[in-house]
Symmetry: D2
Subunit: 366 residues, 4 copies
């Protein structure tokens, strides 16, 4: 426990990399909502593998099958379950790994926790493949949010030492999100994207991998979402985002940079813009006291380099308590950051949708 998240919208993700299927059950979706399947499939395609040089060559149809919760493409109020069959699995690639854990993978921790009963094939329940069901749930929430004027976009902020142009935290707009999507690589600046791709190619050629940072923005949020203390927007988003494998850090607004600032520099002054109260800067990332202010909600997540590399590494035999050398075979992304971009959007959408329902509960008065 627990592969579940949420209170009003509750998602439960199941499956292992090489089990019969992977999937997700989503409870609490408002009834009567039509899902635009084309848009939905376009969203899933952004995460799909096998499209380009930087992702694993594992190819799967990855077309989700809806088992329940939809009638003629419309939510019916019952739990929605969708599954993806695992078809292109090469279990033999992993046979050696039962006893010799891959550095910086979950193998060793899982072995300690499940005492050998865990499904080791392809990383089992810890596989990055499990972000596909996260994107299914998130892709649906994204559509529900859009219908209410709330939009979510993310881009690669950096890979290795190469940086994209950041979102303008005060004025980021749907046009920026569109610009990112029109690039074949999810960045604002195509030139930076080219440089990042070169970095990835180079790492791949050398049997290595690279990490990066993803920046995400949520716009169109009303002020008042989120709750004090442990159900603040930061808590809610963090507790789903760390469910994406390889995420090692999260920061809101200017994040860690605030530590080097003075209050007079970091504080965001309020001002009147027409009839609206806004802040001149947005170091707070659209969240104060855990609650949205109506300014764009901004956060960034750190993604570690893919731990699966072709270079030989030091490991151990768990059973023999002996040092060992390990050379990982199989197909792996030299950089998972690009494919993680829609996963971060999906996670944010689910967290925001859940908070939005809490918000609605009290809006009718009493």
């Amino acid at each position: 426990m627990s592969s579940s998240y949420g209170k009003n919208i509750r998602i439960t993700i199941f499956g292992q990399s090489h089990s019969e299927s992977i999937g997700v059950c989503v409870e609490g979706l408002p009834p009567g909502q039509r899902i635009d399947m084309e848009e939905f499939m376009r969203f899933l395609a952004r995460r799909a593998p096998g499209q380009n040089s930087y992702s694993t060559s594992r190819r799967e149809a990855d077309r989700p099958e809806f088992l329940s919760g939809l009638v003629d493409g419309v939510t019916c109020g019952a739990p929605l379950t969708a599954v993806i069959r695992n078809t292109d699995t090469r279990s033999s690639d992993y046979d050696e790994l039962i006893d010799i854990p891959r550095p910086s993978h979950a193998d060793y921790a899982a072995q300690m926790k499940y005492r050998g009963a865990q499904d080791v094939r392809g990383g089992g329940h810890f596989s990055g493949r499990l972000t596909a069901p996260l994107c299914i749930a998130g892709g649906i929430c994204i559509q529900l949010l859009e219908a209410q004027g709330i939009e979510i976009g993310a881009h690669i902020a950096s890979i290795g030492g190469v940086f994209d142009a950041p979102f303008d935290t005060v004025s980021v707009s749907a046009a920026d999100f569109k610009a990112v999507m029109q690039n074949s690589f999810p960045v604002l600046s195509p030139a930076s994207g080219e440089e990042m791709l070169e970095l990835i190619e180079k790492a791949k050629r050398e049997g290595d991998s690279v990490g990066g940072v993803i920046e995400c923005a949520v716009i169109g949020l009303p002020a008042g979402l989120g709750d004090p203390m442990f159900d603040g927007m930061e808590n809610r988003i963090s507790s789903i985002v760390f469910g994406i494998p390889a995420v090692k850090g999260i920061e809101y607004g200017n994040g860690f940079a605030c530590a080097a600032l003075r209050g007079s520099e970091n504080n965001d002054p309020f001002y009147i813009d027409g009839k609206t109260i806004k802040t001149k800067t947005n170091n707070h990332g659209g969240i104060l006291g855990g609650i949205t202010t109506g300014m764009p909600l901004i956060f960034r997540v750190a993604i570690k380099p893919t731990p699966s590399i072709a270079i030989e590494q030091d490991s151990v035999s768990i059973s023999k308590i002996e040092n060992r050398k390990l050379k990982i075979k199989g197909r792996h992304d030299p950089c998972i950051v690009p494919r993680a971009v829609p996963c971060v959007e999906a996670a944010a959408a689910i967290a925001v949708m859940d908070a939005l329902l809490d918000y609605k509960m009290y809006q009718g008065g009493n």
Copy 2:
């Protein structure tokens, strides 16, 4: 909702800065555990205000009163509730703030959420004062963990641009925690501490404030704590730590630094140390796949500069939709980082204790 956290150990924090009392209810404490009250009060004292130049001069006894759950200092299995009376409150200091929100405080967001019904006095439920009940719950959990060989320590990693020596992530020990506590200022290097204090003093003199970073380590953890996906140790710790006001970011292991590394640099090779499996480096911060590896669990949190500053700021009148100038009166810490150190330890202790109980559930087999 929700000022509650946890599944096995469940804490519920209540109170406003100027309400009758603030307090915490802790459910799920194992019965029959004696609380060492002296050690407990020493822990709380580390967070208490009024001790030195860098904290508010608001003085309160802050001695918790145990209303339930303890019989002669021993947990009895029933929910433990402790309260602290609010005695030294000067509500008039805040009268002006109902309509003119303080920049980077929760005032405006709360106004939008609660439509004016929120308790504005002293920040209400959003006050940093609410970390006192967090420390009560955490102080108890710290003792329960110590009895099982698990220790938690934190120090100030940086304030403004001044950095303390970091924990050695591979070999950090209880001796390091003791060293931090023996300093009047919670750092490893007294020289850095001096420099930080100067920075704080300077900010104070100028009516300003400064932010910082806290680094926390948990040692003595068995491998196998935490769960995949949304109940991983990163998720669990994040979702309580962001309950501490002013936290804007969290990172585990080498955190955001991993984004600039290659897999071959970031991966932590396993090796045999005597009969134990360890990693040579600890970039993973003791967590892989959400599960502890037995290496020290390491995380850092970014704390923004106190938003309450004496310098005049730009704000607005919410009711009149007009720009306004604001000059905050009252007593405020020019830097809350030192007092946040035990709060971070408390939060970590609660999250770890909760995960430990999940872990124990399955250790008896079947």
Copy 3:
């Protein structure tokens, strides 16, 4: 775990019979709601002991002190905590009971669970006294529901073999609830009440006790509250009502009587009444598929006779594994059914309020 209940409205009850205080923390109350303190105190008074021949002579002011969550009698959105000091405790009455469990009390089960660490004084956390905080939380919810046209009333359906007139399940109204309250004994038929009182007096004289059944109705509910499967109104109400000590059964609508009926007798035909869809009979108790139908929600609970009786009973010494005789001293209600009436109303109010907030979440569309 767990002395908490609810998802949107979350109550956490703490305290032991002889601890410093007992109390409740209520999260999720809508902000800006004024509590009518006089009405609230009148509600609590219905549960208070020491008023008459059938209740314990333990006398306590039992005036709750609000520690948080209210500002000038209005909810502020922060968790509301109220406590009652335990003043009139006679702990010596219970000294013998540590080792010799009282038949049909929680003593033995608690001893097995907490291995001797439980608070044995006065039944500890298992005491009927803990229904006072339940009534605090419920008394507030009752007022919030009334403001929305939802009313709750209960009466004693039977004590021993004496039966009150039942609610008319199709047309029960606020007038019926008023009628019950105007009687000094909470029944519809004063004559039945007289008979019940005689039965109680007789049991008391003989050092014995009697049980009974309470019937509760909720009117003014919109159709559509509650959820399929495990969050149906029956599940929600049951899981709070069994938190009242001594409840041994619950049934909805015609309940156990349905087992002897045919479908053609038990089914409730729909018909049009003006512009409203109603059912001619209400065997379903206002709930179908876990969801309210708009007909009165009806349920009954069985309350066992007070286990504390003056008559000598057979028990054992837990430590010596020997048979023993036990004669319980102290003050006890010969019948707890009358005082349990407002507790059942309180429990129903909390469950309904929690479901109502779920209902509101989806009513704004999308």
Copy 4:
């Protein structure tokens, strides 16, 4: 929300009567547990339709397909998901019912809640068919409990006015459970079973249906399971059992009968049996203060007569607000009590397994 139940073992049930599939996701199963598939299929067969005169002639393979969580028949610690394809669906049978709700079915309540978006085919998510996934989850828990010496059995206590011999609440044993299973009809007394079958046949011939009561016992439980207040065994079991459609009441031990007794009659005296503490009678049904005493846990549930009857009934047109006559077509059980017996066992197993894990958490000390 919510089709989920449980804290340590968490089940999420999805699917509609005529959706692609129905199924269940079970989180928190201990890893490394082998499921005996033959025994498991025998358990599911007890609930399956189409076997005899009293159940619907709808025939389905109902063989669950395991999508995740099992590796070679052994739990791997990841969420276990199993689905059953819906193959034999005749949706046209239900076309008329969109506007004309069936009396005492969920149709009308669902229409009010989901405003027409609900899946009306076959009762949608409210169909009795959804007890199949409940039995999948329960069938697994039953095996896990058996491995620890805990056994669960149920029988039909009554149908219409015909009563089976009750369980001996003090000495009920696995032999009794076996006796019930060896009968083709799940009763202790074959003669009563014959009489019940006749009653069912007669109702069927007359286009009608009958209700009944199921009695369930759990034996081999340690003392100390369950928690005070809202997580007592009564609360836990009730909140899952009311998830079985048609359940209208539940009682523990002697249940509603206690209301007519005196304390001296109802109390269960303790005594020493060898080295064990037992009670001479078991009116408390193995639960005191919400916690198991080690005596058999006994409860009974009331099941209403199948609301689908062939006899013409009064209903309404929801859209036209007009009275209507309704004649239900399709295949329906004249009595669902026999098929509900394993469902009640399944529900009990899940609730007990969940409580057992809480119990284990604290048994290692500290």
